[in-house]
């Protein structure tokens, strides 16, 4: 169906639905995400000169239309009783914001738990507590990030042309206690969504929950030890500094890890301008037990056994972002520059001695220096008594990459084979725009995006060490469109279309492997019902990739499958029915097919469900404020298709939290995997041979990585 027809159908549907909706035809469209707020569209966008800055706090200003609040959510709001849960206006049914109370409802020990906040996202940690998770979303196997764009406080997380996997996104340095909200934009329907935003974009915004000083110490199962210190000097949650140190033995052999992370953010008002700075430093070292062959377990090996010595790695990341937000008469402009230095050393052996008599271990190294800049300009117009908004974004990014891969001997870890070494300079310049017209209770959006990529690659080992150079250059165009219709105060209908893309792997361009742009066309129709106490959303989505490929990064093989079709449905609910009770859940069903063979793509997650719930009931006793709190996080992952017509096992995990705060002291007890289920975090099908000298089976076989058993941790937290 062509784009204009899509929009016409949407209009027809909306007109039909309107016949059944109670509405006040004079009520202007509420373009804000705030509940119980009835500002004019101009006020929402901060264009009403008579509205104080407080209302401008509701104005979307960041790259996605959202920004850290200038003021506390309900302080000084001139618009009556207002409970503002988010300063971001969702532009599709699957554009959700997970607030800090949901983040804190259930135990969040690290990045995997933070990723599980995203509706429909499956995060698998298959190589130790320092390697990027493997992500699955909306029918896509995003591997380590190739189909999910991740940002933290505006800093890019995905690494381009990464030695291990395209779009490698290591989030393990993110301190869970410093996550203020999670902005999820599933699909690729917004023009600000860039490289790797094939299945969606997830933005973590930072901030501490409480002002003052917070100190905590935790100790838990398997010698897991954590220290945290955070300071929030003002009432603004987004101005803070925090440091976290975690170490542990791991729940089985060869799983020990340690990491330290510093994060800080500061916002400062200078006149009408708002300045922002984000800084971070982190390092981690981790061991990994490898991947377990199911046949070995069937023959008596342990579920948590090690296959492959000396696996694991180390990472470091140092980052800085400086930004300024400059309001002007008809809008605002945001300018940001950032720099990230990241290093990774990774050792993996998934196949044993299958390919090499010395062992198939691979040692991969990547050093990346990223510098980037971004400008977003937002303004409004009033032609013919209607509102037109224009967003214009410009961005540039340079990645200076040095990467290598070599083979190491299983017996002693000594390197014996150089596979490749490359120096890459990858430059990306982007420009995007969204134009929205808001007549009455409608919002029509049309946008586009241009990304131009430039590669300079030097393959150091080519031509017997003399080196080979190659350069590449090319654009990608993407169309975005959306129609929104408000029915009454609470209901909204959405229809969205977007082109997403994934950039090629530079190294593949240099050594001849084919890795073109992957272009994804996606569409979604959905609805949202939002009141003061509840937010319910539902959406049907689909996407099409013309020339898709399936990359099995465990064995490094690429299979071109032709065109693929993905689709599904998602429903999410966030409710606060009574004071102190929070329920937040989602269910996502998806399917992914190869068009030509009408067969399932392997590894995607057909059914994902997540529920976070918490209840707290503060009271006064003996002159002290008491706040007991309980919470739970439930995860259900349905069987996933594997190669050769197999399916993975269903995973159900229950995490619980119980906390009691008395005055300034809080004791928290967390239990993850409460029922101690023996579950498989990752399941794969590929051949391996761990018996050198024997005649190995070359047929692909089931392998898995063991999920964590029940872990319990106690945390003592002091707030000063």
């Amino acid at each position: 169906m062509s784009h204009p027809r899509l929009i016409a159908v949407a209009c027809a549907l909306a007109w039909a639905a309107e016949a059944y909706a109670h509405e006040d035809p004079d009520e202007p469209l509420d373009a804000g995400a705030a509940v119980d707020v009835r500002p004019s569209p101009e006020a929402v966008f901060g264009f009403d000169a008579g509205t104080p800055v407080d209302a401008a706090a509701l104005a979307p200003t960041g790259p996605d239309g959202g920004s850290p609040s200038l003021e506390p959510a309900d302080a000084g709001a001139p618009l009556g009783t207002t409970v503002v849960r988010s300063s971001r206006a969702p532009r599709s049914a699957s554009e959700v914001t997970v607030t800090q109370d949901v983040v804190q409802a259930a135990p969040r020990s690290g990045a995997t738990d933070l990723l599980r906040l995203v509706p429909g996202l499956v995060a698998s940690q298959h190589s130790g507590e320092g390697k990027a998770q493997q992500l699955f979303l909306r029918g896509f196997d995003a591997v380590h990030g190739q189909d999910v764009e991740l940002l933290v406080a505006g800093l890019p997380v995905n690494e381009v042309s990464h030695v291990h996997a395209l779009g490698y996104a290591d989030l393990n340095w993110l301190i869970p206690a410093a996550v203020r909200e999670v902005r999820v934009t599933e699909g690729s329907y917004r023009a600000f969504q860039g490289d790797f935003a094939v299945a969606g974009t997830v933005q973590y915004e930072l901030g501490l929950e409480e002002p003052g000083l917070t100190l905590s110490a935790s100790y838990g199962s398997y010698n897991r030890f954590r220290l945290f210190a955070g300071v929030r000097p003002t009432d603004a949650p987004e101005t803070f500094a925090a440091v976290e140190y975690v170490q542990g033995d791991g729940f089985g052999p060869q799983r020990a890890f340690g990491r330290v992370s510093l994060l800080g953010q500061a916002t400062l008002k200078v006149g009408n301008a708002r300045l922002r700075a984000v800084v971070g430093s982190a390092g981690a070292r981790f061991d990994s037990p490898g991947v377990v062959p199911q046949a070995a377990v069937d023959a008596g090996a342990g579920f948590f056994d090690v296959f492959g010595l000396r696996q694991g790695g180390s990472t470091s990341r140092h980052q800085l972002l400086l930004g300024a937000e400059l309001p002007h008469e008809s809008g605002r402009t945001t300018l940001e520059v950032c720099g990230v230095l990241s290093d990774l050393l990774l050792r993996n052996n998934f196949t044993g001695y299958l390919q090499h008599a010395e062992g198939d271990g691979l040692e991969q190294q990547q050093s990346n220096g990223l510098v980037g800049a971004r400008a977003v300009h937002r303004r409004h117009f009033h032609p013919f008594d209607s509102l037109v908004t224009l967003d214009l974004g410009l961005g540039g990014r340079r990645d200076d990459i040095h990467q290598s891969q070599r083979g190491y001997r299983e017996v002693d870890g000594a390197p014996y084979r150089d596979d490749f070494a490359a120096s890459i300079v990858q430059t990306a310049v982007s420009a995007w725009t969204e134009v929205a017209w808001l007549p009455a209770r409608w919002r029509f959006m049309l946008g586009g995006r241009l990304d131009v990529l430039h590669y300079d690659v030097r393959d150091e080992l080519a031509f017997a060490g003399a080196g080979a150079t190659r350069s590449a250059f090319g654009p990608h165009w993407g169309l975005k469109a959306g129609v929104e219709r408000a029915l009454g105060e609470a209901w909204r209908l959405f229809l969205n279309y977007g082109d997403g893309f994934r950039s090629p792997q530079a190294r593949s361009l240099s050594d001849g492997e084919r890795a073109p742009f992957v272009h994804v066309r996606g569409a979604e129709v959905g609805a949202a019902f939002t009141t003061a106490k509840v937010d319910v959303r539902g959406a049907l989505f689909g996407s099409y990739v013309a020339n898709d490929f399936f990359f099995d990064h465990t064995v490094g093989t690429t299979v071109y499958v032709g065109s693929t079709l993905r689709g599904g449905a998602q429903a999410s609910v966030t409710a606060r029915p009574i004071d102190g009770l929070l329920l937040s859940g989602s269910v996502t069903g998806a399917t992914a097919h190869v068009v030509q063979t009408d067969s399932l793509l392997p590894y995607f997650a057909p059914l994902v469900a997540r529920l976070d719930a918490s209840y707290s009931h503060p009271f006064q006793a003996w002159g002290l404020a008491w706040t007991p709190r309980v919470g739970t996080g439930l995860t259900l992952i349905g069987p996933r298709p594997l190669p050769y017509d197999e399916f993975s096992r269903t995973v159900f995990l229950a995490d619980v939290r119980a906390a009691l705060r008395v005055g300034r002291v809080e004791l928290v007890v967390d239990a993850q995997n409460l029922f101690d289920s023996r579950w498989r975090d990752g399941e794969f099908v590929f051949p391996s041979n761990w018996n050198p000298g024997a005649a190995p089976s070359l047929l692909p076989a089931r392998h898995f990585t063991a999920g964590a058993p029940r872990t319990v941790a106690a945390t003592l937290e002091v707030h000063l």
Partner: protein, 278 residues
């Protein structure tokens, strides 16, 4: 070892506005065909049994150069076979594809096949040699002489085998060819003249030998013919030489040389292709 540096190869990444370029195909026999195959030494790989060989003619019929993509997209295909004598100083221009959509064409194949009457010449080849290939339906004609001490043996072998070389790749240049936008890429189909003289069909440690070939001259006239090769059973040769491994139905020295003739086609120097007998 030559120091090579790839020229800048501007590639427009696929996004709907790709552009087009051209690909010039050349062929070259390198020093082994243009000059000689020497006696083996520390500096140069050569005949381990003391022979030195010089080609007088090394005529091949190259055709069906084809570009395609693993996605199934078909590209240009050579329709007119070219006859070339690789003894003449090269590289020799073979053909050119113009207006090829720029980008990665990761499947490149070509064939050495029997000439038909329409086969055209390429480079500085004698007209009589071209005519020989056409009238005889030959795909290769190799002529030369090998010398060891005071002994010289001459050979002139017509071959009509049809071999396709598929999925050509080079470890340094990659699979197939990347066609630049608005520019030309040059691709060399390299012919390795030493392959006729290997002493094993499967071992990567095969050596160059000529003793058995020379000894096949049953009538002692200094000319080793294909019929004389066919009369030599491999079982009569010294153990450890002329191993055939899993190769099917290779019994005589002629079978052996014919097998090797299907391995001469290479790609951009030391790159290789999967060869298929047709």
């Amino acid at each position: 070892m030559k120091t090579m540096m790839m020229g800048l190869c501007a590639v427009v990444l696929a996004s709907g506005c790709g552009g087009a370029g051209s690909v010039q195909f050349t062929t070259w026999g390198e020093a082994y065909i243009e000059d000689k195959i020497p006696v083996d030494s520390m500096e140069t790989t050569g005949f381990v049994d003391g022979w030195e060989l010089k080609y007088a003619r090394f005529v091949v019929v190259l055709s069906e150069v084809t570009l395609a993509k693993k996605t199934g997209e078909a590209g240009p295909k050579q329709t007119e076979a070219k006859v070339v004598d690789l003894v003449k100083k090269g590289p020799t221009d073979l053909l050119s594809f113009a207006d090829v959509p720029s980008g990665k064409w990761d499947l490149l194949s070509y064939a050495i096949l029997p000439a038909t009457s329409t086969a055209a010449s390429a480079g500085a080849i004698d007209a009589a040699d071209v005519e020989r290939m056409r009238t005889g339906g030959l795909s290769m004609f190799v002529e030369g002489s090998a010398t060891k001490g005071a002994t010289t043996k001459h050979f002139a072998w017509p071959l009509a085998l049809n071999t396709e070389y598929q999925e050509c790749t080079n470890d340094d240049f990659g699979e197939g060819v990347t066609v630049p936008n608005g520019a030309q890429e040059v691709v060399q189909l390299t012919i390795h003249g030493d392959h006729f003289w290997y002493d094993d069909l499967q071992s990567p440690d095969a050596k160059l030998r000529f003793d058995a070939i020379a000894s096949a001259d049953a009538n002692g006239d200094g000319e080793v013919t294909l019929d004389e090769l066919a009369a030599v059973q491999l079982t009569a040769l010294p153990l450890g030489q002329y191993g055939t491994g899993s190769a099917a139905n290779v019994k005589t020295l002629k079978d052996f040389v014919f097998s090797l003739s299907r391995t001469v086609g290479h790609y951009r120097g030391e790159g290789h292709c999967h060869s298929h007998a047709r």
